[in-house]
Every structure is written in structure tokens, then in C-alpha cells.
Amino acid sequence: MIEKCSTLEATESSELLKSLAMNQIPMPFVVVDKASKITYMNPAACKWARKDLKEAIGVMCFSLFPSPDCTLEGRPVSEAMKYDRTVIKQIRVQRGNEMVQTDFTAAPLKDDKGKVIGGLEFVVDITDRLDAESRAQQLRMEILELSTPVLSLWDSILCIPLIGTLDSKRTQDVMEKALVRLAEEKARVIVIDITGVPVIDTMVANHLIRMSSAVKLMGGDCILTGISPATAKTIVHLGINLSSISTCASLSQGLEKGMKIVNKERGTQ
């Protein structure tokens, strides 16, 4: 007797729990029949569509949740019912006057024998997530910009302290920036310091060699500094010939050499 009561209570409270949960899921949730007519939607969906549940029932779901990103047959819920699988798409959905970026999930609704009798739709507003992602992307770009400065160290001498890992984009960016500055400031020498670069592989070496020949073509000189003994040996082992670039052990020696070049030319003018 006692046992029976407690199971009854448990079922009751779990029914209650279900309905509470269903009513409070913060994302829109819609149930449709096979013709895509709405048979139920939760309060979040009613709020999104600005309709009472009563008004919404029987309405085609795509008229309350219109999306410019899919055709009628291409709607996630049509696909989910047709192929009996969960479909997730990133589409825009209209809400009032605005277009909202969403993760739109559709799944088939089946009866107890497994026959598809309709569909379920969940709409997750991902505007904030996309904003955060694009802000992060923006930040990455800014850091990229900051982390590859080209400094005017001395009259006619530019310096690029390379720090951290160099991917192809970053290497390309800094090289291009340096060449532009060389032309703009009519500089004569570029000192590239690689003390802070953990690995000089063939890609980085290739960029350095190209950079150096471009600088030469523009009538300048490239001086490479800060190559550690381990890096120097490794470059040689790779088989790369950096002899076309003049090198100095430290940044200060590189600057000294650069100043000699500049002064010598001034002297002969």
C-alpha cells in the first residue's frame, strides 16, 4: 500500500516535472505533424513567434519561423521526417523585424511502433556566440598585428624582432609590412632578429631568403641576428644555405653592422 502510494507520487511529480520543464525550456521548441502544421509549441516558441499557443496550432511552422536560407522541401524538419534522422543547420530565422542566426535542429517524431508521425524543431539563437567568435577573430588579428612590429631603430635602419611561432600568414604579413616601410622611409638596412623564434624550419628559412633578395632588389641590406647555436646547426643539417643573408650573433652586433653600412655610404657621398 505504502509502496503503491509512493510510486503514484513519483509518477505524478515526474509528470509535473515534465510539464514544468517543457514550459520553461528557454529555447523555442515546436512539434509539427507530417504536413508541417504546428501541433504544439512551448512558451519560448510562442514568445519568438509572438503568438498564443491557440493561434499557432494548425499553422504551418515555416510561416511562424520563416527562414530565407531554405526552400520549403529543404527545411530541416522536412528533411528529418523524410530521411528519419536528426538534422542540424545553421540558418537565419526571422523574429519580428530581425533576422536571427540560429542553430536549427529538427528530428522526426515517431509513434511507439517507430513510425514517423511528425517532427520536432528546436531553435537556438547563436547571435551571441557568433559575435563572440568574430570578436575573438578580430582580437587575433590585432594581436597578430601587434606581435610583428617593424621598428625604426636608427636613421635608415629598421628592425623586426620576430617572436613566437611563425605560421605562413604571419611570416608573409611581417615581410610585406617591412618592405613597405623600407620603401616609405627610404631605409637602407633591415635587421631581423629571430632570438624569440623557437623553430626555424624550411618555410621560415624560405621566407627569410625571399625577404633578403627582395630587400637587395630595393637597394637595401638584410641582417639576420639572434640565431642560437642549436638553430644554426639544425639549419645546416636541413641543408639550407643561408649564406646569401648576412648574419650576426646578437641584435646589438647587427645594429652596429647596419650603422657601419649607413655611415660608410654617407661618408662616400
Binding site: T165, N206, K233, T234, L238, G239
Partner: protein, 129 residues
């Protein structure tokens, strides 16, 4: 054992950092660590650039007398038609210097390459401490 997927460019950095820290934990010298990191950088970049992505398996290896770093790069890309040519210093089908493969062979102690056109490439390297 560690599997590192190589699908975007920053995976190359992850791969070489993982290899370097394994070498570090085994007590490799600075020079040996640099060699390992550089070779892994080369091979991972080839996997990414020419193999269309793939993976690196990274493992500690030991025999009776020594320990080492063991890496296997696998991709399901187009494969290499002429391995002898590809291993020749200065040979490239891209815009590189063409020193990656021959160079990493020299940087490592063991180097094994298998490749089948249309089926991908597998490169296995070992650096002993």
C-alpha cells in the same frame, strides 16, 4: 602514446610542441630537441600541405640501452609518385625550398617512408637520445 590530428596550420605547431616536450621529458639536449622539433615541423607541414591533412602518432620508444622519440605521420592524400626524387634536396612540387624530406632524414636517426599514389603517405621517424 599521443595522436595529433593535423588538419589546420596551427596543428603543425601543436605537433612539434608535443614532440619537443616529449624529447624534453626524456632529457634530450637542446640541440637534439631542436632537431626533433624542426623535423616534426617539416613532416607535419608536408602532411598538411601535400597530404591534405592526416595525423601524427607520437610515442616514447626504448630498447635495452636507450630511449627515443618515435613519430609516425599518416595521410590519405595523393601519395608520392617518385620517392627518390622527393627525397632529393631542392626538389619541390610546391613553392618550398625542397629540403623538408631530405633534411628531416638527416635530422633524425631513423627515417622510413612509404607512399602509394592515390593511397597516401606514411613516414616513420625516430630520434634516439
Amino acid at each position: 602514446m599521443e595522436m595529433i590530428e593535423i588538419h589546420i596550420e596551427s596543428d603543425i605547431v601543436r605537433a612539434r610542441q608535443a614532440a619537443r616536450s616529449l624529447a624534453e621529458s626524456l632529457g634530450f639536449s637542446i640541440l637534439s630537441k631542436t632537431r626533433v622539433a624542426t623535423a616534426v615541423s617539416e613532416l607535419a607541414r608536408n602532411t598538411f600541405t601535400y597530404g591534405g591533412g592526416g595525423s601524427m602518432k607520437l610515442e616514447k620508444i626504448s630498447d635495452r640501452t636507450r630511449v627515443g622519440v618515435h613519430c609516425i605521420f599518416v595521410d590519405k592524400g595523393p601519395g608520392i609518385e617518385d620517392i627518390v626524387k622527393a627525397m632529393t634536396p631542392g626538389y619541390t612540387t610546391g613553392k618550398g625550398l625542397g629540403f623538408g624530406l631530405s633534411g628531416s632524414k638527416r635530422l633524425m636517426d631513423d627515417f622510413k617512408i612509404e607512399s602509394e599514389v592515390g593511397n597516401g603517405t606514411r613516414i616513420e621517424v625516430i630520434k634516439w637520445k
